[in-house]
């Protein structure tokens, strides 16, 4: 069922108070795919993820997940439908230790990874189980933020710039992890600035500009579209 669309976003508009930041976002993600949202700073990538998760202050349009319209749902209901987010600022809780952070998101369905498997993917976390969450290094915090949404049984993972500010070795480790997660059957929407990284893990790329999706490039066609993409991203 490779072609089945798990997430379909149509005409998504979003606001922070008075400021209108998403102007009709359209994209879809098929089951088992890794899709990136690329775009300049302030293009609306984070806002798109928040819109899908339902935590944008105000949103309109259509966000269908697994055939169900979620635009009228609360974030907690959307989470229970099977979507989980790893936010841009990581969201590690300082009053919780590593294990408590890891165990915080409740199980919403069968099929999440076991703790053993998670510690296999992220051995550092196991050693530091009792440390305060925010005492971890930036890379470890990022791993923790990813790790904690793998247990829950959520099928669609929204990862917002997981490589931001991390050393190349850690970026590679996160890349391997994302590939491993794809093999485990997770569907992933990845926001990335690190273009080489995006190319190494994704199936397709959506380009976001000024609150709209302006192009879609399959990973296989990336080389052919290199110039166009450079122009989009202004690199």
């Amino acid at each position: 069922m490779r072609d089945e669309s798990l997430l379909t976003v149509k005409g998504l508009n979003g606001w922070y108070g008075e400021s209108h930041v998403l102007h009709g976002i359209d994209f879809e993600v098929r089951r088992g795919e890794v899709v990136t949202l690329l775009g300049r700073n302030g293009a609306g990538k984070t806002s798109t993820l928040l819109g899908v998760m339902g935590i944008l202050p105000r949103r309109e349009g259509s966000v269908r997940y697994d055939g169900v319209e979620t635009i009228g749902l609360q974030p907690r209901q959307i989470a229970r439908a099977g979507i989980a987010i790893c936010p841009e600022e990581r969201g590690i809780f300082s009053s919780l230790n590593v294990e408590e952070n890891l165990m915080l998101p409740p199980r919403i369905a069968e099929g999440g990874l076991s703790l053993e498997r998670i510690f296999e993917l992220f051995p550092n976390l196991k050693e530091r189980r009792r440390s305060q969450g925010t005492k971890l290094s930036g890379g470890e915090q990022q791993m923790l933020a990813i790790a904690r949404i793998l247990r829950t049984g959520a099928q669609l993972l929204l990862l917002d710039e997981p490589t931001e500010g991390l050393a190349p070795v850690i970026v590679q480790q996160i890349g391997r992890t994302i590939s491993a997660l794809k093999k485990e059957g997770f569907t992933i929407v990845l926001v990335e600035q690190n273009f080489r990284f995006a190319a190494s893990v994704a199936d397709r790329h959506y380009v976001v500009e000024q609150g709209k999706v302006i192009d879609m490039i399959p990973n296989a066609d990336l080389a052919a579209n290199n110039e166009k993409l450079q122009a989009y991203l202004g690199v």
Binding site: G54, P75, R76, A84, S95, M103, L104
Partner: protein, 295 residues
């Protein structure tokens, strides 16, 4: 026996015990305030009125239904806690997006209304509430006489404070609570029902005040002003301890009770203001409070 600075030990220990009893009430009440403030960001000025209401509920349970102290110790906090849940659902929940000040003003108004109602129906002379049979009398410790009920107040408050601390700091439910205090939006996005948690937390904080109210009923006479007098001191305790910390609220409560007791021995004239003097000093030197986190 020895004397300390010319003070007979009976007097010293007696006042320390009294201080510890007051400290027990300070601890349970400031703990409730800290729990509520942590998650709701609301300074619950109605705390004293709800404490008083629970003492009245205990009195009414006995007077009208013949339900005694022990069941009342559970029932009155539940009843007052349920009333708190009602307040949260119908009023407080509309204020969360506004400044602290609005919550404070609303709960201050509620406190005045609740006190006014009780004053209207029961006057201000105070109603007696008997010490339960099992805890009447006392024991002679050799150096002083220890009334059983007062010992019970200290023990019960320590148990409740420790239990609450344990629940918040060491359990799964407490982890939800701590996380929601830091970032309610993200906790909601993990599928946790944060509004429900907020409602129950307010109910729980109020129930703590209610528990203190029932404990207080046999010691102080049950009267509509009992909360108003106490809550001002408790707010000073909270300021001294700092809003952020559960353990801080508990320890500061007991500590200041003892300090007050000691002051009553060595400088009785100062005992009514010592807590406020400490508050002023703490505000000057460490405005976030002794256990508070720097903002």
């Amino acid at each position: 026996m020895f004397e300390l600075l010319g003070i007979p030990p009976q007097v010293l220990l007696g006042q320390l015990l009294l201080g510890l009893i007051n400290g027990s009430f300070y601890a349970v009440l400031s703990l409730g305030l800290a729990v509520i403030f942590g998650l709701l960001n609301i300074i619950n000025f109605a705390h004293g009125a709800l404490y008083m209401a629970a003492a009245f509920v205990a009195w009414m349970l006995l007077e009208y239904l013949g339900i005694g102290y022990w069941p009342a110790l559970i029932l009155a906090p539940l009843i007052v806690g349920a009333f708190g849940v009602l307040l949260e659902r119908t009023m407080l929940s509309r204020l969360y997006h506004l400044d602290h000040l609005y919550g404070l003003l609303l709960t201050f108004g509620l406190a005045l209304i609740i006190q006014g109602l009780f004053r209207n129906y029961y006057g201000i002379s105070g109603l007696p509430y008997q010490i339960p049979e099992a805890l009447s009398g006392g024991r002679n410790l050799g150096f002083m006489f220890l009334p059983n009920y007062r010992a019970w107040v200290v023990v019960a408050s320590v148990l409740v404070c420790f239990g609450t601390w344990f629940m918040i700091e060491k359990t799964r439910l407490g982890a939800y609570l701590r996380a929601a205090t830091e970032n309610p939006v993200l906790v909601g996005a993990f599928g946790i029902n944060v509004p429900l948690m907020i409602m129950l937390t307010y109910g729980f904080g109020v129930a703590l005040a209610g528990f203190a109210g029932v404990l207080a009923a046999p010691i102080y006479s049950v009267n509509p002003n009992m909360g108003a007098d106490l809550i001002i001191v408790v707010f000073a305790v909270v300021v001294i301890g700092g809003m952020g910390s559960i353990m801080g609220a508990i320890l500061t409560g007991y500590m200041l009770g003892l300090v007050e007791g000691l002051t009553r021995v060595f400088y009785p004239e100062g005992s009514a203001v010592v807590i406020f003097v400490i508050m002023a000093i703490v505000l000057l030197i460490k405005p976030e409070g002794l256990f508070g986190r720097t903002a």
